[in-house]
Symmetry: C2
Subunit: 337 residues, 2 copies
DNA sequence: CACATTTGTCAAAGCGCTTTGGATGTCGTG
DNA sequence: CACGACATCCAAAGCGCTTTGACAAATGTG
């Protein structure tokens, strides 16, 4: 020590005004010299805050699938957290003991708040979190929940409605939807956007052209193949993620169908860092929204919420940005006037 | 309370023998009824252990790239952690303040141990962690480090050597290597396996056929295109990841080259859950090793290490498994005898 | 110069647990 | 019946911090 009391040191480091600048400087310097950082747990015990945010990722038991957007989302969120001195805790959980996990996170005081991922319709987690008093923000929305909550979502309905209209305007009348799992709220929204635009364009809604499943490359491939084998195959695909789209593209390539000419592909794009859709002419015509940016923004919303738990809820609806790529073109047989 | 002292409750819950089974049952039941879990921080303070493992992911400042294997690795590790009552903390960090992050993690007592990702050659992190006394295990290896340490790695040298020999045996003499960033130890090993097999097969080593970079789809596409424009283009590609391979495939498709006939692709495959290479005939001929299994195994190694910090170091060298897919075939012009 | 303020510092309590060192009660044995 | 040996349980200390309430020193005021 340097002849000061614990109190003074604590105050000096935490920026309280009751300490002279001269002493503060001494303390700070000594702390750096000895690589001292206050023990997180002790600090947490004393203050009641853990300065830690929880992310619960449910690994669906069925497919053992890890959401590919996870890494990028975390990278975005992590930036915000570290800027505010928060740590980030990840808990993996199977679907059945979800509730227990949240309860335990709260009871153990492990986190100050959590981010709810992949909300379902009427997601019971929101009510649970409200009940146990754990602050949260939702990545997406949960239709059916009446109580207000904080969320950030992409306007999925509009993006898929626009995409469908876009394809229809190119003359496509058989437009397939390769959707994500329709237990997820966003997937339901995407489908409804798709269907409403089909109706608006006077096109029939054919369940044979709609599929739902986990957004893997193989899924895109399999579904595309199955649909291309139909009597009246689609001339355009609308994919829920760029990874699915890659699978669809593989199916087309394999059959010798030219992407953007014989068959079109449009997709939603989360701007994953390892699967960019950039370049002068993007590979895919896409509606894109950075999941990384969403992570950063949600982290900020949650931190604000933890600071002011009774502030009104904040909601953000981001619009996906349209990029025209090489994967779409007029429907075959359409006259180019 | 139920008329018992704190001591007894603590002992009952933590399975100490000095408490009668009857009382223990009462305590456990009451704890469950009231959803009581001991406060993690207080427990940590008292015991000196945080029951938390750190994962530091460096987001390379240049490309803001998130390693696509991250999610699957975490899913695997998370399984092991939760089975042992450990939490998992993720810290995102830019390359420059790496050392500070590790130091702070230790000083703050935030974690009991950490997993070192993406080791480089002579990685300074290992020495640092030894110095500050934070237990760790390494996913991969760091050539040049003389002190022993615990690691789990895939035999990258052999996998790429085998892959190169395999392609050579199919008659390919211009084999391109689309490698990961050669600041990473594993990428260096892969290259050396590739080069040694080229030499062994009597093939020339052409730097025009070797590239290094971040393993994105776009990178695979760009590099493949560049190489196919060469005067003497490659007839086979060896890719560092299935995501790169997808990019290479796209370049081939776009040029009307048939994969596995006109040009072959072999790749390393981390068995990512969203980019499976399964099916009756796998898409790609690949050398595969599950990164998820690696996560689970490393987590176990680290937990063991934390329990017995002075036990001899454990090292595991996994062999990648060969799967024959549709993406490779005899070099064009080779007689099929 | 005496008094009221303000400034800078400190001792001690408390956060929720684990753990040490008893204390109490029960039982078996000579 | 007395004594030691167990089996159960408990009170209190301590983990490393923050924070409350006091106090001493420095400053301002009439």
């Amino acid at each position: 020590m340097l002849g000061l009391s614990q109190t003074t040191v604590s105050r000096a480091l935490n920026g309280y005004p009751e300490v002279s600048e001269k002493t503060r400087a001494r303390v700070v310097q000594a702390a750096e010299a000895h690589a001292y950082s206050p023990n997180t747990r002790a600090q947490g015990l004393a203050t009641g805050h853990s300065k830690c945010i929880g992310h619960v990722i449910s690994v669906s038991d069925s497919a053992e699938m890890v959401n590919p957007i996870f890494g990028d989302f975390m990278a975005g969120a992590g930036e915000t957290y570290s800027a505010h001195g928060y740590d980030m805790m990840v808990t993996r959980v199977g679907a059945q003991d979800e509730a227990d996990t949240y309860r335990s996170l709260k009871a153990r005081g492990a986190v100050d708040g959590i981010v709810v991922h992949a909300p379902r319709r009427n997601d019971p987690r929101l009510e649970l979190l409200d009940k146990i008093g754990l602050p949260y923000v939702v990545h997406g929305r949960s239709t059916g929940i009446k109580a207000p909550y904080s969320w950030l979502d992409v306007n999925n309905t509009r993006a898929f409605s626009e995409a469908t209209s876009y394809l229809a305007s190119l003359g496509h009348s058989r437009i397939a939807l390769i959707n994500g799992q329709e237990t997820m709220d966003f997937a339901i929204r995407r489908r409804s956007g798709y269907e409403s635009s089909l109706r608006f364009a006077g096109l029939s809604i054919d369940t044979a052209l709609m599929s739902t499943g986990e957004m893997t490359e193989a899924y895109g491939y399999t579904q595309a193949n199955a649909m291309l084998d139909l009597l009246h195959p689609p001339t355009a695909f609308l994919a829920a993620s760029i990874i699915c789209a890659a699978g669809i593209r593989r199916a087309l390539d394999e059959r010798g169908l030219r992407v953007g000419q014989d068959v079109s592909i449009a997709t939603f794009d989360d701007c994953l860092s390892y699967f960019g859709n950039g370049g002068d002419t993007p590979v895919f015509t896409a509606w894109q929204s950075s999941v990384r940016a969403a992570g950063a923004a949600l982290a900020q919303m949650l931190i604000d919420r933890i600071r002011a738990p009774h502030a009104p809820h904040i909601t953000k609806l981001w619009e996906a940005e349209f990029v025209s790529g090489a994967s779409t073109g007029p429907a075959p047989g359409t006259s180019k006037d």
